[in-house]
Amino acid sequence: MMKGSISNRIRILRFHGGEMSQAELGERIGVTRQTIAAIESGKYSPSLEAAFRIAHAFNVPLDEVFQWDENAPQLK
């Protein structure tokens, strides 16, 4: 069975970005607050486009937001 899943640092980046709210980030990239919450908690993997938009919103490269975690259990 394939192992690994995508982890992210959105919570940390939001904190460093002046405690940006999930709703605010969602508004910037065109998704709902609930979708940001789902991405942040690792329950939903965003599309490549949304991932780039999130990185752009924080003004950082993509791999600073999302990482491939080899040992994490795969999302169902």
Binding site: V31, Q34, T35, A38, K43
Partner: protein, 163 residues
Amino acid sequence: MLRIIDIMFAIVYIVVVDGGTKMPYREKTAWLSLLAMVVTFGPYFALVATRALPSEPSPNLRQLGLFAVTAIVEMLILGVGHLYLRHRSTQEARMPLDERDQVIMRRSLSSAYYVLIAGMILVGCVMPFNSSGWSIINAALFMIIAAEVVHYGVVVFSYRRQA
């Protein structure tokens, strides 16, 4: 019957009061649709299945009347419910579906499609050998409602587990 009413009140409470601020608008509308179907088509199929309808000289009219009342009540519940939910979350209701909403929608529709296809095969290819008339029509209607329940059920389930 009292247990069913308890469950319905619990759902209404979750949708309208408790989850009012946290629950996504689209999940609330899915709960509403599920509730409307249970409240209206539940009794309809219970009446039809138990043949509780008195025999009359015009059974077709009786069946059509029952179906019309059921459909009108469902539309009323959905209409009033949607207006209420829209009023409570105006901004969210105006937002177009985002990518996660679309994924959930696709997943729920594909699940419902299999139920509908299986049901239609059963109704169209098997039932004509041993049933006729209103039995077939009601079975087809049941399969459509079952597919709708699966559709909204998967929507609710997906939003609940945030996937």
